[in-house]
């Protein structure tokens, strides 16, 4: 089974985000790129499948500029066999991203495509499942556990609005994973050194015959207004009094 893991490099989410003064987007100068944290869970799941001899090859793929080779090399150090970057000047919107991803999935004869449930920069959470729709493959969203791997299917657990569902999903399939799925490993220093020498394969989107136009128009970006400063209360008494003054009451017991 060939497993393809789509990863999105993004500005370290622990760094406070700054909106450009003209509202055209997010300030990205000098930003350190990391792999979208939830995509790391997807990669970890794929590498574990390979370690259990349930996957033959783990390929990571990304669609973006050359600066994204760094995070792709990290993915190689974390256990991916190959890394592919579809070369574009800038990150793309979900529609062309999903189209390119579907194309690579078929070219690489993949049976399992894994992505994180959302990239924590734009928080759209659509690329993985759009790709599933384009391929016409089965899907499992919000996977928090891979319970069993059968020759033609997976048994998975996923977290829904009203509980946890276990489902048998036929292959080929697309999974979008939740951070609860696993704890990603750290790359060892020798693995990082070895990955430096490995190539990141570059694909030209023109060669795939896919138009890169988007249907979204990003008109403006605004920083969220900060909340007014709060009050540090001395003790339980003051907290109760202040909440009472705001109209909050305990239910009659």
């Amino acid at each position: 089974m060939i497993v393809l893991v789509a990863i999105k490099p993004l500005i370290d989410p622990l760094v406070p985000v700054r909106v450009r003064a003209d509202g055209s987007g997010i300030e990205a100068e000098d930003a350190r790129l990391v792999i979208n944290p939830v995509d790391e869970n997807g990669l970890e799941a794929a590498v574990r499948l390979k370690e259990q001899n349930l996957a033959s090859t783990v390929i990571v793929v990304s669609i973006g500029p050359e600066s994204w080779d760094g995070p792709l090399k990290t993915a190689l150090a974390l256990g991916a066999d190959r890394a592919i970057r579809i070369d574009t000047n800038a990150p793309l919107d979900p529609l062309p991203t999903a189209r390119l991803l579907a194309a690579v999935t078929l070219i690489e004869k993949t049976t399992l495509l894994i992505t994180g449930r959302q990239a924590v920069d734009r928080d759209q959470g659509v690329v993985g499942l759009m790709t599933a729709g384009m391929l016409g493959w089965a899907q499992a969203a919000f996977v928090s556990s891979i319970d069993a791997v059968h020759p033609d299917a997976l048994t998975l657990t996923r977290d829904l609005d009203h509980g946890r569902e276990q489902r048998r999903v036929p292959l080929p399939a697309v999974l979008t994973v939740d951070p609860r799925l696993n704890t990603p490993r750290y790359a060892s220093l020798p693995a990082i050194m070895r990955a430096r020498a490995k190539p990141v394969e570059r694909l030209d989107p023109d060669g795939l015959g896919i138009t890169l136009t988007s249907d979204l128009i990003w008109k403006a970006h605004l920083p969220k207004k900060p909340r007014p400063p709060g009050v540090r209360v001395r003790d339980v008494q003051e907290l109760a009094e202040r909440l009472h003054a705001r109209g909050w009451r305990a239910c009659p017991s």
């Binding site: 924590v120 609005d161 509980g163 489902r167 979204l216 540090r232 909440l243 009472h244």
Partner: protein
């Protein structure tokens, strides 16, 4: 112009409230509103949906296997309907986040997710970067696919007149993809569902030492609120995953939020930024939630809760 709103009525938790708010959102757009309701037609929770103000028609879809929505089959049904609508809306919960992107893939349309504002000109405002940035987006797609946060919109009322309910063919389980079982969330009788609660009491990893979630449950009961959790608490096994609030959990805006033993990681704060009043009880005064809170008490949450309930009860 005509609008289709998807309603997951397969479980009892708050679908009337969620739908009332999505209709509130859709009212910014011209055109009649149709509800596409997935559930059991005999369920007594279904009838009030048809009486929500502004609803022109209801399409009722039953499932072959009760409670197990098959995303692939549901999407194929929606593909056959999509051309008749200018907008297809779903709530920005896991149901909407699972269905609309697949539908988008089938139709070649990017869904606009996490919408908190709809303007008369059709432009949409959505939150991103863990709720720290608001982006204004328009789309050239037809139909427009979007998921909206119910809390960001005022609910319409339930009226006397019921819209006609047309039954649709059952949704069959897809060959191969089979729901094997559902472990349903149980919550104490009388406690509101988390997604629509006015008051939310959430617990974090700071409660791990005591080994249980009792302070959160007791305070929620005393206030008539719902129980929520941080990812730390879920990871520590103190609370089930469906109670997780945050960037990869539920994004909420209750009138009152109280965090017990929650330090406030970026991804958790993403889920509560729009709460009316934020209270933190935590031992660490430098924690991000304490810094953001409207009212912050530096104390061991497990120890402070009983005294707080007693004091508030005396005042009430």
């Amino acid at each position: 112009m005509s609008i289709l709103i998807l309603v997951d009525a397969t479980h009892a938790d708050g679908h009337l409230e969620i739908t009332a708010r999505l209709i509130g959102a859709a009212r910014a757009l011209p055109g009649p509103i149709t509800l596409f309701v997935i559930g059991e037609p005999e369920d007594p929770g279904i009838a009030p949906l048809a009486r929500l103000e502004g609803v022109n028609a209801v399409r009722m879809v039953a499932l072959e296997i009760n409670g197990a929505v098959n995303a692939e089959e549901l999407t194929e049904r929606l593909v056959t309907l999509a051309a008749a609508f200018t907008h297809i809306l779903a709530p920005a919960n896991r149901f909407g986040a699972e269905i609309l992107p697949r539908l988008g893939g089938r139709l070649g349309i990017t869904p606009v997710t996490g919408v908190v504002e709809i303007d008369a000109d059709g432009s949409l405002v959505r939150a991103m970067h863990a709720g720290n940035v608001l982006a204004r987006v328009t789309t050239t797609a037809h139909p427009v696919l979007l998921t909206a946060h119910p809390w960001a919109f005022a609910a319409v009322g339930v009226g006397e007149r019921a819209a006609p309910v047309e039954p649709e063919p059952k949704l069959m389980a897809m060959k191969g993809s089979t729901a094997l079982g559902l472990t349903k969330a149980v919550r104490p009788e009388g406690m509101p569902g988390l997604s629509s609660a006015r008051i939310v009491v959430a617990g974090g990893a700071g409660l791990e030492k005591g080994g249980d979630f009792a302070p959160v449950e007791e305070l929620a009961k005393a206030l008539g609120g719902a129980v929520g959790a941080s990812r730390g608490a879920v990871d520590a096994g103190l609370a089930p995953a469906e109670l997780q609030i945050g960037q990869t959990g539920l994004v909420l805006a209750p009138e009152l939020y109280i965090g017990l033993g929650i330090s406030g990681a970026v991804q958790h704060l993403a889920g509560i930024k729009d709460a009316g009043c934020i209270v933190s009880i935590n031992i660490d005064p430098s924690a991000p939630l304490a810094a953001m809170a409207d009212l912050a008490l530096t104390a061991d949450a497990r120890e402070a809760v009983a005294a707080f309930i007693k004091t508030l009860s005396k005042l009430s």
